[in-house]
């Protein structure tokens, strides 16, 4: 049933498909939607990578990886290049994805109009009509009040020129990676019981204005470990004096950069 929802989601890029969420061995908010999707697509020859905020070694990432190794008996990896399925929370790897790879996003809130229109029936109607003036209006307000679009995370995208989609809470920095990606992008929201998808080679545009084009923010400095200036950085406090450094959020890309 989840596979059928995934197929349907791939057939209607960006459109949210409801599915019957299964009992999960962990509470909502810990990646149940992503786990359901990953479990539905894993085959015996798959190699699974799991990241959380770009890192392979957080508790959540390690637990999910171990869970699938034990339950499905598949191989796991921390290397983006070797993975066939990558379950993620908050990031898309820096290394360009390849044809044949599948990204699985854990999604807390699948509805991009959620904060603008509280009535779910009405948001469904707006999607059906392709009426996204509200989202554009929110963007207008952000620029008018703050001078720029405020959504550093979860900046809404138009998929294939038809559906407005939440890219899940990835940074705006990662939005361009969705555009014309050779990989399959699957999004699972466990609590909200929705699956949606971006098939390979699909147009994905971040919502913006002609004279205020979408411009993701880049860190002011290079990575303190690998020196990369192109990657997405986490800002961390490095010493007791409150000194700050920037390091790559993608630990695998940073490792490659240091080699």
């Amino acid at each position: 049933m989840i596979r059928r929802a995934i197929l349907k989601a791939l057939a209607i890029p960006g459109h949210q498909i409801p599915f019957g969420a299964r009992e999960m061995p962990l509470p909502y908010g810990w990646g149940t939607g992503g786990i359901a999707v990953t479990a539905a697509i894993l085959g015996p020859r798959d190699v699974l990578k799991v990241i959380d905020q770009g890192a392979d070694d957080t508790t959540n990432a390690v637990s999910i990886r171990r869970f699938f190794a034990r339950v499905a008996g598949i191989a796991t990896t921390t290397r983006t290049a070797e993975a066939s399925v990558i379950q993620t929370r908050h990031r898309i790897p820096e290394r360009p994805l390849q044809e044949g790879q599948v990204m699985v996003f854990q999604v807390p809130m699948p509805e991009p109009l959620f904060r603008l229109e509280p009535r779910l029936a009405e948001t469904r109607r707006l999607h059906a009509l392709g009426d996204y003036a509200l989202a554009q209006l929110r963007l207008y307000e952000d620029i008018a009040q703050q001078g720029e679009a405020g959504s550093a995370y979860n900046h809404p995208v138009m998929v294939a020129g038809r559906y407005l989609m939440s890219p899940s809470p990835i940074p705006g920095f990662d939005n361009p990676k969705l555009h014309m990606s050779p990989a399959i992008m699957l999004f699972g929201a466990g609590r909200e019981k929705k699956i949606y998808a971006v098939p390979p080679w699909t147009e994905v545009r971040s919502l913006d204005f002609d004279d205020h084009p979408f411009a993701p923010v880049h860190a002011a400095q290079g990575c303190a470990f690998c020196g990369s200036t192109a990657s997405y950085k986490d800002e961390i406090v490095a010493d007791d004096a409150g000194g700050r450094v920037f390091v790559c959020s993608d630990t695998d890309a940073c490792r490659e950069g240091q080699e």
């Binding site: 009509l129 003036a133 554009q136 207008y140 008018a144």
Partner: protein, 251 residues
């Protein structure tokens, strides 16, 4: 030239109540038609049926050659944010209170496909001036404006896409008398300058005389009298119209 919107043989019942009983209406480009009657006369229902929000039990509404109630929702919404405008009696029903004045005016432009932030700002400023609001307050929320100013903001929001036909549901109701007078002046000027056709619901005979070219008098879901505005008011034929007109003079 032909009618912009035409409706005939409209019937609508709410249970035992005949809200509309064989009503026919038409409006021509540039024409202002006042629909006068007391609450419960069916005038609000008529406005909702004409604007496609409520389907009649029988009869049809045609706009620009299309049957309004046969349009898909997408087409009807499109009409509502381009060719048509709707001014609510209560500005709060027609405004987004959590969005700035500029955003309120710009929303219809964005709905109609404008994607240029600067152009939206310019249009919002221009319309604030046209409705006699200070464009420097473009980024204030409607809650910071007075009732009369909110109503003018609603009118700007409605007219920014230069509609051909505007539905106005008692736009001056609930405002102080002096504020009403100023709003009526503004409406009269805008309607004339823009060549708008407008349906104008009111129970205020003086407002109807000031704004309307033609008047429809409604009672118990029927149009009991209609015609040239000054003739209906100066030479009323129907007992109910005579009562309406005489009660204004007596007041």
């Amino acid at each position: 030239m032909s009618a912009l919107l035409e409706a005939d043989a409209l019937h609508l019942r709410f249970g035992a109540v005949r809200a509309l009983d064989d009503v026919a209406v038409s409006i021509w480009p540039g024409e202002v038609v006042a629909i006068v009657g007391e609450s419960g006369s069916g005038k609000s229902t008529l406005l909702r049926v004409l604007s496609g929000q409520v389907a009649p039990d029988a009869g049809g509404v045609r706009y620009a050659g299309a049957e309004v109630h046969a349009l898909g929702e997408a087409q009807r919404r499109r009409l509502m944010c381009t060719d048509w405008g709707y001014v609510h009696q209560n500005a709060r029903d027609g405004l987004r209170m959590g969005v700035s004045a500029g955003g309120n005016i710009g929303e219809r432009l964005m709905a109609a496909g404008t994607r240029h932030y600067g152009a939206i700002r310019d249009a919002a400023a221009e319309w604030m001036v046209k409705v006699e609001l200070d464009p420097a307050r473009m980024d204030d929320r409607p809650g910071m404006f007075s009732g009369g100013m909110q109503q003018r903001l609603q009118i700007a929001r409605c007219l920014v896409t230069q509609p051909k036909l505007v539905f106005m549901d008692e736009p001056t109701g609930g405002l102080d008398v002096s504020v009403q007078a100023r709003l009526l002046d503004l409406l009269r000027r805008l309607v004339g300058e823009l060549g708008l056709a407008a349906f104008f619901l009111t129970h205020d005979i003086a407002a109807a005389r000031l704004l309307a070219h033609r008047i429809l008098v409604m009672r118990h879901g029927r149009v009991v009298e209609e015609g040239l505005a000054d003739r209906v008011l100066d030479d009323p034929r129907h007992p109910y119209t005579q009562l309406l007109v005489s009660s204004v003079l007596a007041a």
